[in-house]
Amino acid sequence: MSTQGPQQSKLVQWWIDLFQKISGPLPQLLTDEASPTEDAPSAKEDAKNRLKLVLMHDRTQISPTLLESMRDELVQVICKYVEVDQTTLDLCLEQETNTIALVANISVVRSKESNTSA
């Protein structure tokens, strides 16, 4: 192939491109239902999920930064009484049927009081 002039290799490339264009849909036809987007969420689902999140922030006027500082203060208060797993701590907005809820998910390791009394 290295002996071919640039003109000729261009022609070869053209044929390869053409072949790929024609054969492109073929593997898809043969594999039937197997679509490449099976595990990744579709663009439609992506849009829906992202929109729902951004609208919750818009509607409540709670910015991610505000949520973050609330989370930090909450941790401080809770840590006074119980030992928590700070790595799994999660505070977010969730859409209920008609309202938006502030949901905190905090893994408690043990109560500090019971710790001292034991």
Binding site: P25, A47, L51
Partner: protein, 275 residues
Amino acid sequence: MATKTEGRVIVVTSGKGGVGKTTSTANIGAGLARMGYKVVLIDTDIGLRNLDILMGLENRIVYNIVDVVEERCKLNQALVKDKRMPNLCLLPAAQTRDKSALTPEQMKTVVEELQKEYDFIFIDSPAGIEQGFQNAVAAATEAIVVATPEMSSVRDADRIIGLLETKEEITNYKLVLNRVRADMIKANDMMDVDDVLEILSVKLLGIIPEDQDIIISTNRGEPVVLREGDKIPRATLAYRNIASRIAGEDVPFLEMDVPTPWVERFKSLFRFGAA
């Protein structure tokens, strides 16, 4: 017409620009005029007027809404009669002024006068939520929110709906979902009508498919809703349906289905053979 009731005042708004407010105003208005109602369209996009272009009336403008409120002319002198239908006319925006040239109170005065004469007054709102929007909604009692099934448009529509809810005068608002692409919905690449309705929790007024005939119509200055003949575009039918619904008729929504492309047809054939 001795006992004519006051005309309905409907604002067409969206928040985001470029989603089809002006196109929808022109087509829904022309659609109702086509049914025989007396319709006036008001362009409130001062400085960036475009409704005249869509109606093909850009060469007939003498006075505009700012001339009316600043009393340089009578309201009737500023109304531009449509060339196709005598019962349709346009009150153009001023092109060389800005949004501050009009106040909500002045809008109300103009609209009140028009209500005596017309069955429907459509107000085309500018993009945004500032004074232009406030002017547009000031005199309205109903609203049409136009959105496309895209994230930015839906987000802005949500904001607009929030603002409309704070206006006591607005008794009802409905959604027109524009530029819907059945092929992309089928491929799960675009949110469908139900997705948008669920997210916005709003009632649906109509679905407009993406249709190149809308661009062709704009280029010709003739609203797509006025196309006649055996093979009318789907957008024509969609806008006619919206006009009928506004007039109180119960019209089913368009099925957003696409003809199956040949690849799919071949695929199903293959599947049948394999089974």
